[in-house]
Amino acid sequence: MPESTSVPVVEASGISKRFGATVALAEARIAVAPGESHALVGRNGAGKSTLVSILTGLQRPDTGTLRFLGAPAPAFGDTDGWRAKVACVYQRSTVIGGLSVAENLFLNRQSAPGLRPIRWRQLRERAAELLTGYGVEVDPAARAEELTVEQRQFVEIARALSFGARFIILDEPTAKLDARGIERLFGKLRELQEQGVAFLFISHHLQEVYDLCTSVTVYRDARHIVTAPVAELDQAALVEAMTGEGASHSAPAPAAEPQPAAETERSAEPLPAAEAERSADPLLMVSGLTLTGAYRNVELTVGAGEVVGLAGATASGNVRLGETLAGLHRPSAGRISVAGKAVRTGDIPSALAAGVGLVPEDRHLQGLVAGRSVAENATLTVTDQLGPCGTVLPSRIAAFAGRMIEDLDIKTPGPDTPVSALSGGNQQKVVIARALATDPHVLVAIRPTNGVDVKSKEFLLRRIRQVAQAGRAALIVSDELDDLRSCDRVLAMFHGEITAEFAPGWSDEHLVAAMEGMARGHAADAPARGHTDPVRGQATTEIEEDHHVSHD
């Protein structure tokens, strides 16, 4: 491409935006040079996504100027104008569940303009072609709602990248991808980089910033803090810019160090006692647990004081196993007991009563009632403890929620604020508050740090550790190495089976390999049978196997 002027593809300055009480952006600025990969980082609620919606013409800034390649931005509402300048992968899903994958990919450009009819077959072929480029094997005619979260994310990504735009924004594109997915995405992005496409890249995984980007901008509290080449800003400095605290005050980010932060801190605590307790007193015992189509014959024990990781990529069954423990699914076979007592399976209230707390995978779908207040959401699991005879006293809600807000450092204008007005990270904290509210014996946390900034992530993992230290048990279901690193031991799942167990000190490569089904460590389960694919297998086969299992 011929251009090589230094006119930035996008230049925004003096951008301010407020939502009622919240100042989302205050005199913020950013400039992305042609062909540059520019990272934008900042803590939850720093205003990154708001900037994105302004740069893509979805929202009008209160003040500020915006130029694309030196020319003024298109008029607000001139959607075609905006789309010619910039393509975007939004943080919030923009896939429309009821439409086919192909249609989602080519939405509003299914056909040539005017009344030209859509040629569906051609469209599906183009879609299939596009998706194979990302290693996504789905039928383009399938409805998007049938896709997994990760597949859907690739649809978003493929769509944004397929416009042929010279400038692309990606708002936390990796939050919903597993390691392999991220690798594939980065492959694509590097290809485009070589063609001179400029990126604005947002992520809470700082390592990705170093892997992909050439310069980085940090926002804090709605303001621009610094812009620098990544080479000039090491991770400690980056975190410092994000948090505004000296590096010495904060524990190093887990990703920066070979030894996880939580680990370091934990060693300062009276851990041995806890470990002794753990071995003596298994809090969670799972045996022979099978959920048809998800996982089979799972054996699992978590002791008091222990944090266990349940690793697994998409479709490994780890998430559904975690959900089953909390009563979301009724397993077809097997037993669960907590603190020695059998739990009625498939019944959430029973699981709650038995002392299982759950941080669900998707906070928007399962975790939060968006229209209700922070206080109400945080106390939703403990409404029976907030007053006599089935009553719920506002004073107690306020007190309880106040404690939670303080305990988890939730940034909110007040307990009465609707939870939908919080930034993603703070919403996640509300979900965790909800799970901790019952003071559970066993905390099942599914991807607990999803979309959460480094500082908060560290904080949340430490909070989970505290649960264990109080003599409880925690199970972290995740595929994020940062999450898993904070665990006492990690079980890896693949295709519905626990295939390996890792003691502390595991190496990233081994765990990732196990999650991908490449290695079977000292696996604690039955020897692999000659079946092809248990997860997608026929129901009849499953039942036979169930029988087999129960005779074991």
């Binding site: 009622g20 931005a73 399962q366 109400e376 089935g390 009553t391």
Partner: protein, 340 residues
Amino acid sequence: MSPTTESAVPPLTVNPRRGRSLQRYRDLSLVPVLLVLGVIGFIVSPAFLTSDNLIGVAQQSTELSLLVLAEALILIAGRMDLSLESTIGVAPVIAVWVVLPSHGGRFNGLGLFPGWTAIPLCLLAGALIGAVNGLLILKLRLNGFIVTLGALTMLRGLQVALSQGQSIVELPSSFTYLGSAAWFGVPAAVWICALLFALGGCALAWLRHGRALYAIGGNPEAARTAGIRVDRVTWVVLILGGLLAAFAGILYTGHYGSISADQGSGWIFQVFAATVIGGVSLNGGRGTLFGALTGVLTLQLVVNVMTLAGVPPLWNQFLNGLIIIVALIISRFTSGETQE
């Protein structure tokens, strides 16, 4: 309008509580409308502000308000029940049919139980209707709108078939008492409705199971993972809705002196209108009973003021519709909130 134009810097401090406080007032958004109607009524006729007239309006609101109470609960829990408008008619007919002697009257029943059982039987019939709707919706996973629309037609048809289209006039006195009696100079029905609204309001505000409705209506999946038995609570709410509609039928019967074959017919529009202009969301999870009550009172006051003003009959319906829309606009701008 493009963002290139450097617009004036906004004032740095907006009232930080603004967004929040408006939310609170949403349920009060009809209060200004009620005031405006009051002032118009006062100008239009000296009879408006007499206690006779106002008590009359209150009494005329009772049956509708109970249906609105029921619908508000159901909507808050994220469901709909259209069949309430038929339950208010068919439940009393069923009760009376079971109870009335099998010969001698203009309408002959089965004479199975003594007359005092009419009220409990009526309530039971209402609860049963709610329960069956609930089963179809929750167990068979049928679309609630259409199930209850079918039920609306079917139950009205059942009433016509049972009563052979006649009004039933000879009724057990226990059955007509509540709708016709007055306590301390005010109709018993008004006291009872006020009490039920107060109870309902308190339950929604301060009872676990009441608050659960908001969570269920707002996000059933999140409510479920928080340990709320979503289907069970929803079922109970649907049963309660049927029960309240049946009770409204009892009050109606006493109030108007008979069970007429088209008792409540066509009311469901009014029920939704009152509930929704009162701030209850059709999508669930939002609204209060107080708001719903102001919705009922608004609709009834409109009719009252128009009658007092002597609107020409041919323009009556037009004005009625117009005023509803204007009321909506007023409440939209006094609450400052969009209504979606």
